[in-house]
Each structure stands twice: as C-alpha cells, then as structure tokens.
C-alpha cells in the first residue's frame, strides 16, 4: 500500500486527505462543542427540576406542617438574609484586597516576586473549606474576641457593632472574614489576568505624558480591567453565597435577623441550615430544606444575571 501511495500524485493526495480530514475534524469538533454546551444546560435544568419537584410540597404546605410552624416565606427569609449578609460582607472585604493584590502582582512587584506571590494566592484556593472552618473557630475566632470587644466599646454606636460582643468569636464578622479569605484567590486571579493584558501602548502613553505610577494605573489599568473585576467579584460572591462547611462550623446561629456583626445571635445561611438540619429531618422538613435550596439557586442566578447586566452596560458605554 505504501508503494502505491508514493507513485500517485503526492500533492493531490495530500490535499484530498487534509481536506477530508478537516471536514471530518470540523464535524467532530462542532458536535463535541454542542454536546458540551447542551450537557451544561441539561445539568442546570436537571438541578432546577429536582429543586422544584422536591421543594414543591413545602411551598404549598400549611404553616403548621412546616418546621418551626412558620409559613415557608417566614422560614426562609431570615436564612436568605443571613446568606446575603455573609456573602456581601465577604465580598466587601475581599474585592478591594484582591484588586490591590492583583495590581501589586501585575504592575508593582518585580517579576520573580510576582510569580511566587501569584502562585501563593492561587494556593489559597486549594485549601479545603473545612480547614478554613476549623481555622476560623480555633484561631481566628478567639483572636478576634478582643478586637470585637474593642469595636463594641469604641464603635458601638454603629448598628454593625452594637454588641454585646461574643465571648467565643463565632460571629458573622469572623464568618465574613473567613469567607473573604476563601474567595480572595478567585477574585484576584480574574483581576490579575485582566490587568496583565492592559495594552502596553496605553501605559507607555500615560507615562510619556508624565503620569506617575499610580496615575498610570488609575487611568489605564483600572478602566481596562473594570468589567473583569466585576465578573470576578460576582464569581467570588457566588462562592460565598453557597459556602457551607466553613459557615456551618463557625457561625453561632439563632435565627435572628440583625445587622449586628459581633454578637452571638446571628442569622443562619441557607446552605449552613441545610447542612445542620438535614441529618435529623424527615418527611416535609426535608422538602422545606430543598425548597430553601431553590431560593439559594434563585439568589445565585439573580446575582450572576445582575453582574452580566452591569458588564454589558459598561461595555456599551
């Protein structure tokens, strides 16, 4: 067979073969790509269907049949509040820190140091959340007790630090701090990628006009990376909303709806509540827990759509 190949017009054969292969390759590729996209959609739909069908009995049940004898809305509202509060607190702490770290790594630090530092920040993402939880109750929580006492004494007039300060350190503030550390790597990684791609000519142009390093960053790097920072922040927020283990371990929950970040009475989060109550639940209580999962799903979806909308609007400008 090989001898036949060599005697025919090699050029023609090559063209035909490569042409045929390309068509086949294209087909395989496009089908694989479509399949992957459809799989993701099907997964999402599957989860939504599961949450809806299993949560539905709780949504329609009478208050007396549900846990704590409350209507489903009354049951889920404090949980949703706690979820959003914890995630917002985490994002509020993590995003500025992550952006600053990304700026330092991409535009300030010497290259070798930047490489190591970037690697170390990424490493934070590899730590399992239960480890963060244990670190939260054994190390950060007790260390934060005097800090929270100080906040209560000096800044007690602000509702956030109303107190009385917890003596164990299992507060919303500590949970928010731990969540912030957990989402730091993802926000920072996305920001770093965007900042690193700032066109060189823009920066050089700014410098040629006599801009200082800070002015250069403010006028070129930050505007260029803005939409990426927002989408990174939303990714982080999404992770913080759904984070279960660390919050379950750290937070002292008692169903209170309060902005007080340093007391022992905190609202629970949806994910932590499911983890805490699922093992001893049965019957309709399980449906109620799954229905709260549906609410979390909706919150996450709305957050992400909000982020898309912000980015789209920014790019339109």
């Amino acid at each position: 067979m090989a001898s036949v190949d060599t005697t025919t017009n090699a050029g023609q054969l090559l063209a035909a073969a490569s042409g045929g292969r390309r068509r086949l390759g294209d087909r395989v590729f496009s089908r694989t790509a479509v399949l992957a996209a459809v799989t993701i959609l099907a997964l999402l739909a599957g989860v939504a269907i599961f949450l809806l069908s299993e949560g539905y009995p709780a949504l329609t049940a009478a208050a007396s049949e549900l846990p704590e004898g409350k209507t489903f809305l009354d049951y889920v509202a404090p949980l949703a509040f706690g979820t959003v509060l914890a995630a917002a607190l985490a994002a509020l702490i993590a995003v500025p820190l992550a952006v600053a770290a990304a700026l330092f790594i991409t535009h300030v630090a010497p290259p070798r140091m930047a490489l190591t530092l970037g690697y170390l920040v990424d490493l934070l993402a590899a730590i399992p959340s239960i480890i963060y939880g244990l670190w939260g109750i054994f190390v950060l929580g007790p260390k934060m007790v005097p800090v929270m006492k100080w906040l209560e004494a000096k800044l007690g007039f602000i509702p956030f630090f109303d107190g009385p300060a917890s003596v164990t350190g299992r507060t919303m503030l500590v949970a928010g701090l731990v969540l912030a550390v957990m989402i730091l790597p993802i926000v920072s990684a996305v920001a770093r990628e965007a900042f690193a791609q700032t066109p060189r000519r823009l920066r050089e142009g700014a410098q040629a006009l006599g801009a200082t390093r800070w002015e250069t960053i403010r006028m070129t790097v930050l505007p260029f990376g803005r939409s990426s920072v927002i989408s990174g922040a939303m990714l982080g927020l999404g992770r913080a909303l759904g984070e279960t283990m660390a919050v379950t371990i750290i937070l002292s929950v008692s169903g209170a709806v309060t902005f007080n970040l340093i007391s022992q009475a905190n609202p629970s989060t949806i994910a932590a509540n499911i983890a805490l109550d699922f093992p001893e639940s049965s019957g309709l209580a399980i449906n109620a827990l799954i229905a709260t999962g549906l609410v979390l799903f909706a919150i996450t979806l709305i957050t992400n759509m909000g982020a898309r909308w912000i980015i789209a609007r920014q790019e339109g400008e």
């Binding site: 395989v28 069908s53 003596v167 164990t168 109550d277 049965s282």
Partner: protein
Amino acid sequence: MSNESKGSLMSSSRWLVVIAFAVALALGVAACGSSSDSETGSGGSSSGGGEVSGEIAGAGSTAQQAAQEAWIAEFENANSGATISYDPVGSGGGREQFLSGGVAYAGSDAALSTEEGELEKAEKRCAPGELIEVPDYISPIAIIYNLPGVEELKLSPETLAKIFAQEITSWNDPAIAKDNSGVDLPDTRITPVNRSDESGTTENFTEYLSEVVPSVWKFEVSGDWPVKGGEAASGTSGVVEAVSAGEGTIGYADASQAGELSSAQVKVGSEWAEPTPEAAAKVLEESPLDKELSPGKYTFAYQLDRKTESEGTYPIVLTSYLIACTKYGSASEAEAVKAYAEYVISPEGQELAAEQAGSAPLSPALTKKVMPAVEAIAAG
C-alpha cells in the same frame, strides 16, 4: 487508508452520540429519582467460622453511632459470617427506613409515636410477627460550663432553666449565689451555648426543663433549640469547643464528651446529683412504661420520670431505642438480628458501649426485663 481512518473517526463520533445519550439518561434519572432506600437485609450466603451468618442493615440515631460501631466490630469479630451495617442518618430517617422495610432494625432517640400512625405502621411492618422496641443506649447529658476559678457549681432546675432561657444573665446573680455559698462568683456575663443542629440531646434536655420547671420553661419540646439569641454550635463537639473557647459559657452535652470541662451538679429532690452513668441508668429503672406507646408485650417505651426526687438519680438523660421485629423474611436474617440485638442488650454489649461511647449500661433489672423481647425473635 484515508477511508480506514475516516471509518474509525466516524465510529468515535458515534461513540460521542452514545455518551450523549448516556449523560441525558443519567440526568433524567437524577432529576426524577430521590430514592434513598438502603439495601434490604438479605439472607445469609455462606456460613463462616462463627455462630451466626447473614447480612443485616440498620439506620437511625447519630447519638448511637459510636456505640453501634463498637457493637458491630465486636459482633463481627465473634461471628465472622455476619455483616452488620448501621447508617447514622438520624432518628427520624431511621424510623422512616424501618417502616418502609428498608432496614432490618432502627436506632431512635425517641420511641415510635402515635403521631401520623407511626406505631401502627411499625406493627404492620412486623406482621405477622410483633414489634420490638427496647432501650439500648442511655447517656447522661452533662451541664458543662467554663468559669475560671469556679471548680464546683450547683444549679437548681429553676436556675438552670432561667439561665438557658436567658433570664439570668450574670454569674453573680443572687439565684446562683444562693445555692453556691462560699464560692466566689465573678460578674461575668453568662453565655448559654446550645446546639445549632437538630438533635436528640436538645430534645431530651428541653423535655427535662419543661417537665420539671414548666413555670419558667415555657417553650415547646423539640430537637431544635427554641430560644433565640444564644450562642449556637453544631454537634456535641461544637458545643464542647464553644464552651471551652469562651469565658462564662454554659452548655449541655453528652457527658462522655465533656472532656476537661467541669459539669454542674443539678438538684434532685434535696440532693445534688452529678451526671454519672449509674445515676442515669437508675432513672430509667424507676420510670414507668408509657402505656400508650407500649401496646405490645415486646415494646418498652419509657415515660422518663424527669421529676424524680429519689437519691442517686440524674434525670437529664438521653434514652435511645432499638427497634426491630420478631419475624423476618428469611431465617438467617432473623437469626442475625436476634444474635445482634441480644449482644447489644447483654451486659457485655452494654459494658462495651460504656467504654467506647461513654454511655450508661442498662441496669441488671432492666436487662432482665427487656431481654425476653429480643429473645422472641424467631425465623418465620
């Protein structure tokens, strides 16, 4: 040649289609299904070197988990042909799985109730045999506290209830000082710690409070802690950790898990009682059966006498039950359940649980009373 390679590529793309179908199918199944039944106990296969063979599955209370694990390990050691499994899904889940026939036996922190016909369904599940319900795990619940400088603390039920209801908020409150003369109580703020997850420990503790001091404790008895605003932690270990971490904290936990922490003495009658295994077992011994919940001759649902005033008892206890049937589908299954249940109730089994899980062994009198129930298991 090009045809050949084309053919193999085509078939690989066909494979992709097959995989796509498989994925879709799996998704469909995942979306519809939520079945969580575990394997039914199936008859014994091969006879090993031991006395009993067979495979049985149980599920239920997380409180019993440590004890069940110890029992299973010892039992399987002695009966190499037997395989026992225990899934700590929680008491409610265990009862549910037992009723549906998913498991051969269940462990539950509460006796089968008449609510939603649970007891009736259980009797039906066991027919034509009879339902067995015997206490197999008793554990004192200690009131643990962390107050540097205070080695010994005495609390009357009323004070205890007021502390956990957040009515007494300072350690030097006159109500506490009255029972602790000679102890230098600081003015530290009291931080009561409760379980944040649903638990049998919480249910038993709140049941004690509401029965003994109903004038102070007006909350519903439930596995979910009813008072808002306290410090909450997940699991027994979480409560112990929270109490250890903060100054002025007080919590309730399985006595075996209290570790280095001091336990308060609780007033029983005119005595001050400590959470010892003996005192816990004695309460059960002195308690009457709940007639309504114990219809059959093999059901022993106790109406715990929380208000007991007799000496040497400690009424804050958790009682967990073993639920099974006298008849099973196959002889080998019945034989395995019988042998295992007998071992669990036996003095050796109870001693092992006391060692491994810190529970209170059933008293000899109690063992004698409930043993006929598990001995009644027979092949049908």
